[in-house]
Amino acid sequence: MSDVAVAVELEAVERRNGFSRRTLRRLTRQPVTVAAFVLLVIELGAGALAPVLEKKGWNNIDLSDRWHNHAPTIHGHLLGTDNIGRDVLARVLWGIHASEQTAIIGGIAATVLAAVAGLTAGYFGGWFDAVVMRIADLVTGFPVIVVLIVVFVWLRPVTIWDATLVFALALWPFGARVIRAQTVAVAAEEYVAAAQALGASNRRILFRHLLPNAGGTIVVTLTALVGQIVLIEATAEFFGFGVASIARPTLGNLIGEATISGIGPYNVLGLGWWVWASPMIALVLVLACISLAGDGLDAALNPRQ
């Protein structure tokens, strides 16, 4: 290997190593981001541990009369019960469990697709780039919620895994656009031209140079997509499409179920505010923490902005 090649490789490696240590330092210097991360870990952790924390499941009914529509209390049901005596805390925890499973797995899958499409389209260009980006334009211009409703009805009954797959396929273009833009910029750098001149294979350039450089963008894309999935899934399920609350509670269908006839002056079920307020607060907290954490990560990874 010539000196130039060694220097090129060293630059890429050095960039990557310095990058993570400095990033961590920049990250821990932002109190809001750290707080958001901690809150997010607590909430998602509680959701992930739902099978341990609420062993009786999401449909366990407390049959005794006094537990129908009971307000939150320290004795027994921390977040109260609904009109047939189901524990609201258990349902919300299982709801977070389902929502985060869809969001995290779907988000990772969408990000992988986005990274593959964005890196290859940005590096190779030409007709491949044009095709990928036109698909991205089509998908990102149309409200995702409309497409999702169509697909959810088609796949009925929708399981969590169906929803995960649909989100991965529907949302990758959002990430691919950003990653492609980053790749196009990096591919124009001199060290990529140097690597090409030295006869490095396309695979080597993609994995040694372009992928590490897009790392920050990919991480930020992942957090953004996870947030998007939580948001869009909640909206679709609020409308009554997607995973049904009878099959499996999610944050969206819990809010939908509680607000269809349990809110305001025509509350025929006599539902208490805690039944709809609990999943709402859980949803808003998750979304707020994801966006704060994502912005903090972005600021730490791309300090120029």
């Binding site: 990102t140 919620i145 169509v150 909206t235 002056p265």
Partner: protein, 331 residues
């Protein structure tokens, strides 16, 4: 300029054709159309497309729409489109006015309480989904003014159509708002649009104010701003005449590329506020399963939604071209 417009319109027509053809064939296939003997799916689509120019398809747009239980809704598809356009237009005006104001203040007083507040608003707008904000606004209105709404602003509904949606007042709108005629009708429309449009705009003002603020700060660091200041221009003119003018293209581009999300939120707001727009019709007309799906009622809805999206993006491209000389030079 004319070349660009022709190119964009051609592209828009191609996308619309592909979209309607795909969705028509998909729904017709699910609904059991197109089997032999009988016309093929493409023949049916061709007939539908021909009908769009003055035939039976066009007639469909002015027919009453149905809910998924086949009960009649008293709104036609064209009326629904009108309601959605009014909602979107009012929300767009609010977003543009408030974001520009907020961004100018935030950029000129960097790090102040106002700047931090605008930032917090952006995060809040992001964290509270459209449907949730709409529900919360309704709950608040209900708590303050009861089921009739607050002051002149009704809690839900579109003047002249009795809604049956979701939310605080689902299916029980009291009273069913009167339509009136002439100026009275316009006033009634504005009254019932106020709360939904504010709700829809609130979710996007913070985010777009932030985009514009960072674009402004980037512009303010450029040499031509220093020149303008050195020439003794008052700071207000530097900000509005020079910095804002140069950052506007970025802002408009970001706002219009966000149109998919805004329309998605508009569907939710429309549904919760029982606005009888495309969102309400779409959600209530959409079948719960595809056994009995009717492509002739669903595809027009998707067509109108796509038309809205594509028209906006075409207008956006032309606006960017017009606003930004750099784009014009690149061709």
């Amino acid at each position: 300029m004319a070349g660009l417009v022709v190119k964009k319109i051609g592209l828009a027509v191609a996308v619309l054709l592909a979209l309607t053809c795909g969705s028509f064939c998909f729904f017709a296939w699910l609904g059991g159309f197109g089997h032999s003997p009988g016309p093929s799916l493409l023949t049916l689509y061709w007939r539908w497309l021909r009908g769009l120019f003055g035939g039976s398809t066009l007639h469909e747009f002015s027919q009453p729409t149905f809910t998924r239980n086949f009960t009649l809704q008293n709104v036609t598809m064209l009326q629904a489109l009108g309601h959605t356009v009014v909602l979107l237009a009012c929300a767009f005006v609010l977003v543009v006015v408030f974001s520009i104001g907020l961004a100018l203040l935030a950029a000129s007083r960097r790090g102040s309480g106002l700047d931090v507040g605008a930032r917090a608003l952006a995060y809040l707008g992001w964290a509270v989904p459209g449907f949730l904000l709409a529900l919360l606004v309704q709950l608040l209105v209900n708590a303050v003014g009861g089921a009739r709404g607050v002051g002149p602003f009704p809690i839900a509904g579109w003047p002249g159509t009795c809604p049956a949606g979701i939310g605080v007042n689902s299916g029980h709108l009291t009273p069913c708002p009167g339509a009136g005629s002439g100026a009275r009708y316009v006033l009634n429309v504005l009254r019932s649009t106020a709360l939904p449009a504010l709700t829809l705009a609130a979710g996007f003002v913070g985010v777009h104010a932030r985009y514009l603020r960072s674009a402004l700060l980037e512009t303010l660091a450029r040499p031509f701003i220093t020149t303008a200041r050195a020439k003794g221009l008052p700071e207000r003119d530097v900000l509005t005449r020079h910095a804002l003018r140069a950052s506007l293209a970025t802002f408009v581009g970001a706002l219009l590329s966000d149109f998919g999300a805004i329309l998605g939120a508009a569907i939710a707001v429309d549904w919760v506020f029982q606005f009888n727009g495309l969102g309400t019709v779409f959600i209530s007309e959409f079948p719960v399963d595809f056994g009995s799906v009717n492509p002739y009622s669903l595809v027009p809805l998707l067509f109108l939604t796509a038309l809205l999206v594509i028209a906006t993006s075409t207008v956006g491209d032309v606006a960017t071209y017009w606003l930004d000389p750099r784009v014009r030079r690149r061709g």
